[in-house]
Symmetry: C2
Subunit: 209 residues, 2 copies
């Protein structure tokens, strides 16, 4: 999208902006100043202007931001309507929760397949998708060309499956496995989720009060 | 713990340090320089020293850090062994995944109760805990004094239950509900989990390549 690489911390704020603007839109807010937006989000107004300038800037001097317009622009940058085909690996508790709980469609993806190595799970339904045996992975990828994979498997299984998935054309991983994908696969896009880090941050909060 | 309030970004890095040091320990690394640690973590060495200085500094000039010692010190700051009693609200897919998937004990908490408002779920087992009817919440809190609650319920139910939980003595929330707890409860400790933000960041990665 942009010519210069945008810093990671700016990128991480984009979904938050998108979420906050969605709330504002839902409550009927038509426009907002960078000051108001910054107060709501706990950032400084200049920080917000700097962030938006990475993408050419969205404001209008003296008017502030049109909420719907800004939300849709940030949504486009995030690619929320891209519908990239994705598969999910591991239909345990976590995989089930992610598959049934997440609005993939509103966040840039289309979940088109769920796989598990346990043959007893094959055929069981999660939402509108039937779990498939992992043996079908290659054939499925040839026929449906998914580009992203959600890894809801233990760390021990992740290394082997990541190699296979990359060879089947998967370029992006949403990684719940705690396996350090980036160490062995430099060309892929990885988003790691470490729920344990979040829980320890809460523990710090209690512990430091 | 510390006298001056430590910045949020430093606090958020502590669990990552703790995790990386655990990996190093597992692989038998006894000591590490701040330069090596910084390369592994994608930070600068001076950033790491600054972070640790917030807690009095842990290194020894010319020696670097003793991995086990550093890990245990950071663990103490995070309160990983505190075992604060916690309850989980909402035994749907997500609640089940969190309750069975997370090592609460190694991250500062003890999960002592799971509640759901659906009476049909009462009595069903998640790990070693039987799901309880939400009607029992008050009595349970009086008898067991949990201090933290994990909210795995829809946004719509969160406002009402948060008020109740606070009146029962809950001071910390691990919040998966997307309800903005802080807006109505200023005195509590909140850690929000927005999995959707993480997924949109992955979408950005695909979209900007």
């Amino acid at each position: 999208m942009s010519k210069n690489p945008v810093s990671n911390s700016v990128i991480r704020r984009l979904p938050r902006y998108y979420r906050f603007l969605g709330e504002l839109e839902k409550h009927g807010t038509v426009r907002i100043s960078s000051r108001e937006l910054s107060e709501k989000m706990g950032l400084t107004a200049s920080q917000i202007r700097q962030d938006f300038n990475c993408f050419g800037g969205f404001g209008q001097q003296g008017y502030g931001y049109n909420v719907s317009e800004l939300r849709s622009k940030i949504g486009n940058i995030l690619g929320v309507n891209t519908g990239n085909p994705a598969i999910l690996i591991g239909a345990g508790n976590l995989g089930r929760a992610i598959a049934s709980h997440m609005d993939f469609n509103e966040r840039g993806f289309r979940l088109i397949g769920i796989f598990d190595s346990n043959p007893n799970l094959a055929g069981s339904m999660i939402g509108e998708l039937a779990v498939r045996n992992s043996l079908e992975l290659e054939q499925f990828c040839i026929e449906n060309s998914p580009v992203a994979a959600v890894l809801c498997i233990p760390k021990e299984s992740a290394a082997e499956i990541a190699v296979r998935l990359e060879s089947y054309g998967i370029r992006a991983f949403w990684n719940f496995s705690h396996y350090d994908l980036r160490a062995d696969h430099s060309d892929i896009i990885v988003e790691n989720v470490h729920l344990g880090d979040s829980l320890m941050t809460l523990s710090y909060g209690l512990n430091s009060k």
